[in-house]
């Protein structure tokens, strides 16, 4: 039988697209399930992918360049747009980097409120992902449930922060305001509903024979690949590695919360979905723990000098937090002026969608490309920030 793969000359596969044996197709840039635009240039033979190139740049607004020309406080509306479904991680990290360079400590209550906000945004982002994952395998029903339920979480954000998507709730020195009256009762109601919804998702999606048949064995990540490709978060945990920034380098009040790092060993798309399903439960549990343990009163922010003329002492730092996709980091350099010298965003999608996806897709059936791509949980604006 003739080999499916073309000969490799000087490290590159050589084949003639006009021979009618190979076809080049573009998948994207629009995908349901991947929040943002990113396209895959696939060379296929029959129905198998033999080469993939990820193309990004559809969302490039030059965030890092914009931040070099803005005062620190003016950067807040920019940073939250780097990740649409989960903007709070960006806000937290930018504020935390500023606070670390300034050497200020935020009040106890503000830390709890920040952690609560981060966990709620993780919950919203996971709900969106579970819907996208099931949609990629042809089950639109779960997507409709979860996207609808995400709106209830957004309602909570609206009540707490005044905005649904981009909250800008965490400001340097703390958070903007305390919890409004009656909000905790609403939150408990939404969290109870979310955990009921997750049980239904388990019946419909994780126990579904078709979903299992298609997702098991798809896009296997082995433990050796994890460091080689810079894989973090659930994608690394599905290979059996216990890595979670919240446990390893605890920030805010995560060392006072009780949770276990979820792991799987199979490393395929199905185990990644299972991990994310369990981590959604974990987020709900952590929200409940935070609400129970949070101090009932106290200052929510410290007083800073006029933030429009705030000068940050010269220095450089790197701060990280655990987002739904894994380690999210901000590298900030200050030269002592009112403008950041350089802010680099380390989004977890950067290594997942570029180097890893290009290699994982080789040999995959073209029908499973969407499922595999979504199972890595990519948000393209992080790549081209």
């Amino acid at each position: 039988m003739q080999s499916l793969y073309p000969p490799i000359v000087n490290g590159k596969a050589v084949y003639d697209l006009d021979s009618q044996k190979y076809i080049r197709v573009w998948q994207g840039p629009q995908h349901p399930g991947v929040t943002g635009n990113m396209s895959l240039e696939l060379d296929i033979c029959g129905d198998q992918v033999i080469k993939c190139n990820t193309h990004v740049g559809y969302l490039h607004r030059g965030f890092e360049k914009l931040m070099e020309r803005r005062r620190y406080i003016n950067c807040f509306p920019i940073v939250c747009r780097i990740c649409v479904p989960e903007p709070d991680t960006n806000e937290y990290l930018f504020a935390a980097g500023m606070e670390e360079l300034m050497g200020v400590q935020i009040p106890e209550k503000a830390m709890w409120l920040r952690a609560l906000n981060l966990e709620l945004s993780r919950l919203a982002s996971f709900l969106m992902h579970l819907g996208g994952q099931s949609g990629a395998f042809g089950m639109g029903t779960v997507a409709q449930w979860t996207i609808a339920y995400r709106d209830y979480v957004l309602d909570l954000f609206e009540e707490l922060t005044g905005a649904r998507i981009y909250h800008m709730y965490m400001t340097p020195g703390g958070v903007r305001g305390d919890i409004p009256e009656g909000w905790i009762a609403h939150t408990h109601k939404v969290l109870d509903g979310a955990s009921k919804l997750l049980d239904e998702i388990k019946h419909v999606m994780l126990n579904n024979a078709i979903f299992k048949q298609r997702a098991i064995g798809l896009g296997v990540i082995t433990p050796e690949m994890v460091d080689h490709y810079g894989i973090v978060g659930p994608n690394a945990r599905c290979a059996g590695l216990k890595r979670d920034v919240r446990k390893d380098n605890p920030y805010l009040i995560y060392d006072q919360l009780d949770f276990e790092v979820e792991t799987e060993t199979a490393g395929d798309a199905y185990s990644r979905t299972c991990i994310r399903w369990r981590e959604t439960h974990q987020s709900i549990d952590l929200c409940r723990q935070i609400l129970a343990k949070m101090p009932p009163s106290g200052a929510v922010h410290i007083t800073l000098p006029n933030v429009l003329h705030l000068k940050i002492p010269a220095g450089q730092t790197y701060v990280r937090a655990e987002s739904t996709r894994g380690e999210y980091g901000y590298f900030m350099v200050s030269d002592g002026s009112e403008f950041p010298r350089k802010v680099t965003v380390r989004g977890p999608s950067y290594s997942h969608a570029m180097a890893l996806l290009e290699d994982l897709l080789v040999g995959v059936n073209i029908a499973d490309v969407a499922g595999l791509m979504v199972s890595l949980h990519t948000y393209p604006p992080e790549i081209e920030r």
């Binding site: 490290g11 193309h55 990004v56 740049g57 490039h60 030059g62 890092e64 360049k65 070099e68 670390e100 460091d227 080689h228 490709y229 810079g230 973090v232 890595r243 390893d248 380098n249 220095g315 450089q316 730092t317 790197y318 990280r320 380690e327 980091g329 590298f331 350099v333 010298r341 350089k342 680099t344 380390r346 950067y350 290594s351 570029m354 180097a355 890893l356 290699d359 790549i383 081209e384």
Partner: protein, 174 residues
């Protein structure tokens, strides 16, 4: 971190060591020793995770400062290895043989700062800015306004008042 620095000092020309916090430190290394130091850190010291590669443009010193941030998963410490290269001849050795995602960072650095990494796969392929004609845009001497005025033309603005215009379109008889 201090002990690590003292041990590294015996093998490499590292200097300008600074501790930012208990789990994060930065040090400077000459350009020629970077790849061997990264290999040493990865293979022997357990700094197996390449967190990110970034560049800061110091226009006033006529240099680029590259930062390679490594993370050790057993001690949960980060080490930022920094190397200063000339702005006039920005060429650097690649690290794509150590970490697979290194080639993506190198592609981005070539596109955004014009730093060349000879031998890195697809390093000259456009990544984000497809069809870009001008100088590398993340350099500090890149004038955003002048570039956009030279490259893009103004769309003539419609000076008609929207209220009047719509009235005429919808109810011409009034």
């Amino acid at each position: 971190m201090e002990t690590l620095y003292k041990e590294l000092k015996q093998y490499f020309d590292v200097d300008e060591f600074s501790v930012q916090k208990a789990s994060l430190a930065f040090l400077r290394v000459p350009k020629s020793q970077l790849v061997s130091l990264l290999t040493h850190m990865k293979d022997i010291r357990g700094y197996t995770h390449l967190v990110m590669v970034t560049c800061v443009d110091y226009l006033e010193q006529d240099s680029f400062l590259l930062t390679y941030l490594l993370h050790n998963y057993s001690t949960h410490c980060d080490l930022g290895i920094q190397v200063s290269i000339s702005r006039q001849n920005p060429v650097m050795d690649g690290i794509h043989h150590l970490w697979e995602q290194g080639r993506v960072y190198q592609r981005e650095l070539f596109e955004m700062f014009g730093i060349d990494f000879p031998g890195s796969p697809d390093v000259h392929e456009p990544m984000i800015l497809e069809g870009w004609q001008g100088p590398p845009p993340m350099r500090r001497d890149f004038d955003t306004k002048a570039y956009s005025e030279a490259t893009y033309s103004h769309r003539p603005r419609d000076h008609r008042e929207p209220e009047e215009y719509m009235k005429q379109q919808l109810y011409p008889e009034d």
